[in-house]
């Protein structure tokens, strides 16, 4: 690990000042991703700004719009087991519990989870080229070991995925990220928070380098009955998703009134295709429609060799997740058998 100075500001304003004090300053919250990357010399901050004690960011509160505001420092555990979250946003609770382990979720924060970096093996190995880590050096994953890599929204420069489970549920629920910067506060909708790699894979998100996440805001509760978070991985727990699907349906009698589908493990950001979601409106939830929706979501999907299997896996996962959601039988995050 490189050497760095350390600050523990007492207010958001002080934290913003500390963050801008050096271009190589970095925020630390739970540390479960940043410390790991620092040990690999992937991240080399010269100044660490510890936001973990900032007042006011550890609460889960009602919003004026009837939604819920989850502070950036709320642990993944606290968010997942909060009674309001479980009751009003069970999809979010389920997705968080599908990720990592009890120990990691205790330390991991809401803000840090959104900003965790890709698990691409080359990104983690500072001895090899990687456009995300060192722009312009190349992407060895494209023709290399890429079982965990993206099949949608990739670019010539990078085919990495975003590893968060929580973010997939937040995308489906159309949450908004509240951030503070030198010019005040602003909101970034989840759909615009993470980026596609394009020509600048070094930028994972649209958060400014001088900005701090304050909270995630959920709109009024919906999708409390017909939802599921289906996560498929190489072992049953303590592994990142190869493919995951957050599916949420609002039923009107026996027809679908509204649908949300977000995929994890397949792209540089949670993957949503609004046109595919619209295909479900007014339809009875049956396998034929689900198949058409899955086809539409995976339109243009491209494998890179070892991850070719993900295209078919994702297609089937969408169909299965929609069936689970329609039946009101969400995937258990304990009993991993897929019904």
């Amino acid at each position: 690990m490189n050497r760095f100075s350390y600050a523990r500001p007492g207010s958001v304003a002080d934290a913003l000042r500390e963050v801008s004090s050096s271009p190589a300053a970095k925020i630390i919250a739970g540390g479960t991703n940043l410390v790991d990357l620092m040990k690999y010399n992937v991240e080399r901050p010269t100044h660490l700004v510890d936001v973990s004690r900032l007042p006011g960011l550890k609460a889960i509160e009602e919003t004026q719009e009837g939604g819920l505001r989850i502070g950036a420092l709320v642990s993944n555990t606290s968010a997942a087991y909060d009674e309001r979250v479980k009751e009003r946003y069970p999809l979010l609770s389920s997705a968080i519990l599908a990720g990592a382990t009890a120990q990691l979720r205790n330390a991991a924060t809401t803000g840090g989870n959104l900003l965790q970096r890709t698990r691409c093996y080359y990104f983690y190995d500072a001895a090899v080229p990687c456009n995300k880590r060192e722009p312009g050096t190349g992407c060895p994953a494209k023709d290399g070991v890429n079982r965990i890599h993206a099949i949608l929204g990739t670019s010539e420069k990078c085919i990495a995925t975003h590893p968060s489970d929580m973010a997939v549920a937040l995308a489906a629920l159309e949450a908004v990220v509240r951030v503070a910067g030198p010019n005040g506060e602003r909101s970034i909708p989840m759909a615009e928070f993470h980026r596609l790699p394009g020509d600048t894979p070094e930028k994972d998100t649209n958060l400014g380098a001088d900005e701090i996440i304050l909270a995630v805001e959920l709109p009024e509760a919906r999708f409390t009955k017909n939802y599921t978070y289906l996560k498929l991985r190489d072992r049953l727990s303590y592994a990142f998703a190869l493919v995951s699907v957050a599916a949420a349906l609002e039923m009107d009698g026996d027809k679908v009134a509204e649908a949300r589908i977000a995929l994890g493990g397949v792209a540089h950001k949670p993957w949503r295709v609004p046109e595919a979601e619209k295909m479900l409106r007014g339809k009875a939830p049956d396998r034929e429609v689900f198949e058409a929706v899955a086809e539409r979501i995976l339109q243009g999907a491209q494998g890179y060799g070892e991850n070719d299997f993900k295209i078919e896996l994702a297609r089937r996962s969408v169909i299965r997740a929609l069936s689970q959601a329609a039946a009101g039988t969400p995937q258990s995050q304990t009993d991993k058998r897929i019904q």
Binding site: M1, N2, R3, F4, S5, Y6, R8, I28, G30, G31, T32, V35, D36, M38, K39, L48, D50, S52, T77, Y81, A100, T101, A102, Q103, L104, N106, A107, L236, S237, Y238, Q333, T334, D335
Partner: protein
């Protein structure tokens, strides 16, 4: 344990040459196993390295050093975390409980320690301190009741010897006894 003269900071050559009391060291307070300690830490020292190398509590193990095995699990303010991914300086003011701190003052083992012995829940023992601390955290959380739930909630602790079945037996036993109280 504390007076064993073990070489410290092996494989950390640049650190070994650093004198104590560098201006870069930051004063923190930690209550470790009930004992309040004023410490000076370099900001890059993890809680795991602090425990093992600076205060000679060797019970907490380093398996992977990357959050992938659970051998370093300790209780921080009663909640289980991976001490290898926590910078000590960020835990200023917290209470840390390690495997050395679970037994009562008179030496009576924690029920979870008893159960691990009773159920033969280890072979080489390397993962055991982390398993036991994790299991004590699980008890307090109260989210696991069935065997299946225990397995899922203990998935953050790998055991290369494969003592899993007996580990689940031990935890199930303690849960049942707690429930009967």
């Amino acid at each position: 344990m504390a007076d064993l003269e073990l070489p410290t900071r092996q494989g950390h050559a640049p650190d070994a040459s650093l004198p104590r009391g560098l201006p870069g060291e930051i004063p923190i307070t930690l209550t470790i196993n009930g004992e309040r300690r004023e410490l000076h830490v370099r900001p890059w020292t993890t809680l795991l390295d602090l425990l093992r190398e600076d205060i000679s509590l060797y019970g907490t193990k380093k398996g992977c050093d990357h959050g992938q095995c659970g051998a370093c699990t300790v209780l921080l303010d009663g909640e289980r975390i991976n001490s290898c991914l926590a910078l000590a300086v960020t835990k200023d003011g917290c209470e840390v409980t390690t495997i050395e701190g679970l037994a009562a003052k008179d030496g009576a083992l924690h029920p979870m320690q008893e159960a691990f012995i009773e159920h033969d829940a280890f072979q080489c023992g390397y993962c055991t301190p982390g398993q036991i601390c994790s299991a004590v955290g699980l008890l307090k959380e109260g989210h696991a009741r069935t065997r299946e739930e225990i397995r899922e909630m203990m998935s953050g602790n790998l055991c290369r010897c494969g003592a899993y079945t007996n580990i689940v037996d031990a935890i199930e036993d303690v849960l049942a006894k707690e429930a009967a109280k």
